[in-house]
């Protein structure tokens, strides 16, 4: 089909976006003229210079976010399916979900710090919780809108309950899982930053705030760029997986 032209168009789009962002950043940096916002050119040097110290912090943060995304999703998807399929459970838990969903989970951080200490556990717990609710709500809603007729079709062909899930319900809800994950990455990184900035002495959040308190702005900025990269890379990974798994949607 027309894959080559659209591929080229996409690459052109990304090149344009990168140029646009760098230009905007450069102009802003020149206008602000503060050591807290170095120009892109200065940042490249700073990044290279800080890379050796930065890398372990980066992996600590990456580990926390990835593990949390996996835990949150692995818990949310099956529960979402059960809720959406059982009228009784849904009636029972929908109000609970409705009340808990809008609460910013990040306010629970102090409690988790008391209960789980200062290392990975409270951060992973907090981000997992945030991701869990986002995926749960998105997937539950998407299961609910799988048309009854689609389920009847496979039943009329002699398909079992399992076939129904495997061939109708799960493919239909796949896009919701990935959309909620892509949106979830942004929130997860934000929560990660706050958790690491507040407690412990590991991860990019700590690195950034430590640099800030040392008034080492180039180092701080290197940390910010690393955190941004972590978000972009995860977002792109989910985007690619989603495209692969839901190629049929085009």
């Amino acid at each position: 089909m027309n894959r080559p032209p659209s591929m080229i168009r996409r690459i052109i789009g990304y090149v344009f976006a990168v140029v646009f962002i760098i230009a905007g950043w450069w102009i802003t940096a020149l206008l602000v003229n503060s050591p807290a916002l170095p120009t892109p050119a200065a940042t490249v040097g700073v990044l290279a210079q800080n890379a050796p110290t930065l890398v372990p912090y980066f992996w600590t943060s990456a580990y926390r976010v990835i593990v949390s995304l996996v835990i949150g999703t692995a818990l949310a998807v099956p529960i979402a399916h059960i809720f959406a399929r059982s009228r009784t459970l849904d009636a029972l838990f929908a109000p609970v979900l409705y009340l808990l969903y809008p609460i910013p989970k990040v306010v629970l951080l102090p409690i988790l710090l008391v209960l789980l200490g200062l290392a990975d556990a409270p951060k992973i717990a907090l981000i997992s919780l945030t991701v869990f609710f986002q995926v749960l709500v998105a997937v539950r809603d998407s299961v609910k809108i799988v048309p009854e007729s689609a389920v009847l079709s496979i039943r009329s062909l002699g398909g079992s309950r399992w076939d129904e899930y495997l061939h109708v319900v799960i493919p239909a809800t796949m896009p919701a899982v990935f959309t909620s994950l892509r949106i979830g990455v942004g929130t997860a990184i934000a929560v990660l930053f706050i958790a690491e900035a507040m407690a412990g002495s590991t991860g990019l959040g700590y690195f950034i705030m430590q640099s800030w308190s040392m008034v080492n702005y180039p180092r701080m900025f290197a940390g910010i760029i690393a955190l941004a990269l972590l978000g972009v890379v995860l977002y792109a990974i989910f985007d690619v997986i989603e495209r692969r798994l839901t190629r049929w949607r085009s």
């Binding site: 007729s149 689609a150 079709s153 009329s156 062909l157 398909g159 049929w248």
Partner: protein
Amino acid sequence: MGESDIMVSIQHLSKSFGETEVLRDVSVDVKRGEVVVVLGPSGSGKSTMLRCINLLEKPTGGHIFIEGQEITAPGTDVDKLREHVGMVFQQFNLFPHLSAKKNVMLAQRKVLKRSEQDAERIALEQLDRVGLADRADFLPAALSGGQQQRVAIARALAMDPHVMLFDEATSALDPELVRGVLDVMRSLAEAGMTMVVVTHEMGFAREVADRVIFMEGGVIVEEGSPSEVFDHPKNDRTKDFLGHIK
């Protein structure tokens, strides 16, 4: 007429959803090779009756026999029954992530446990039968609604059904796509398939049906040959309905 000539026998069927009675004491026999078209306004119970035939809806009363076997008896193997009863819906509901051919192969492989080669050969035969041999590798999104519905018909036919149920199979289609689907249904009828067809296509009913049933309010109001029902309706409600359609 011997027992074995009756493909589907519906006896005193009733169905309620809570307080609402949708079917009341409906009895119909469909002979082997017969094409029965069911007409009636929406909410008359036609689709519910059709869905009771393969137990997609559970009857609240009465008995249904398919090839002499009571399917409403407790302990009926529903999956086994459905293998012999093909159904096509208003919404085509193809598996969107599978090609036309794979759509037709899936249930053959999973339910009938046919080999990959057999399933593929039969899939291609059935796609050819509905005029889509050249679309075998297309995804549903790349097919028109009419083509998708014909794939859905091929998918049902690949299971070697003894009777085919059509639930408003053309109602969701753009007018120019209806004909292709009706042509496939007509050729099926000519090949001797037993069919129960719920439709609003009066032309099809008149030309293809062996018998026409008119339903309203959950009961059979009138039945007979197409010319009896269309040209000389006895019941006022039938006359009224046909008057509105024309």
